[in-house]
Symmetry: C2
Subunit: 134 residues, 2 copies
DNA sequence: CGGTATCCCTAAGGATACTG
DNA sequence: CAGTATCCTTAGGGATACCG
């Protein structure tokens, strides 16, 4: 019920708060990694279960090998995804979420569900926008 | 407790499900707009209350005028943000979230909170990663 | 199969200048 | 103040080829 006063941090916390708005904070880097173009879709896919590279590539429509590879490396680096190599012929590499990855993916899933359900609303907003400004 | 079986849609739904994985679905476009580099931070900022252009620009560290402008246009187009021009001298333009924007921002906030709290975990993962592969 | 390496091109994005 | 316009640079990202 606050009027329109203090925008920023609201409450001075006693802890060393990491801030996603701060350019040099690790949380901002991680946030950008997670919300990056292909990363969020990859996390969404992995929330359905473990995937092998090419299966994941098929699930995330439109991603190239290169970008999926880079994306998975970034997520593995941040501790959101595990990569397990099954030494065999042919080679098998299984990707899965870490516990942290599971939690992050859950929030992305909720966001995706919201937007999937809001498609009519979004499309109407787009039409209205175009009527206003071509 | 499912083993590792059916990855994809799990349940055939009776509705025309929009799918964030589908390249040509509006929900995927909206999802990409929301998770775009500056959009998610802008939504997070606007979740704190209405902002004027330059105030918002200061809040979202590192964004250029051009990118903030483009980002806000995309979000307005999708019906997540409102733009109100107060005709006055000097000009005032106020940005705020729509009800849909509020809901989307809440999920992003939850994600940001998770990652802000996981900074030590992420940094340790990065160190471990570098030990593994330099 | 699961990648990495290379090439190449488009578009994202920053800096600056200018307008209502 | 709140942008748009222009210019320019970088890096995102696709296609192809090749290696373990």
């Amino acid at each position: 019920m606050a009027e329109h006063s203090a925008h920023p941090p609201a409450e001075p916390s006693q802890e060393l708060v990491s801030d996603v708005f701060a350019r040099s904070c690790t949380s901002r880097a991680a946030f950008e990694d997670v919300t990056a173009k292909w990363a969020s879709l990859a996390l969404l896919a992995l929330a359905e279960g473990g995937y092998r590279f090419n299966a994941l590539r098929r699930r995330v429509e439109g991603v190239s090998e290169k970008m999926l590879s880079q994306t998975l490396q970034a997520l593995e680096r941040d501790g959101l995804v595990t990569r397990e190599v099954l030494s065999a012929i042919p080679p098998r590499v299984e990707y899965a979420l870490t516990p942290l990855g599971v939690r992050a993916a859950a929030h992305l899933r909720a966001l995706a569900d919201l937007l999937e359900g809001a498609v009519p609303e979004v499309e109407e907003a787009r039409l209205a926008y175009e009527r206003r400004q071509g």
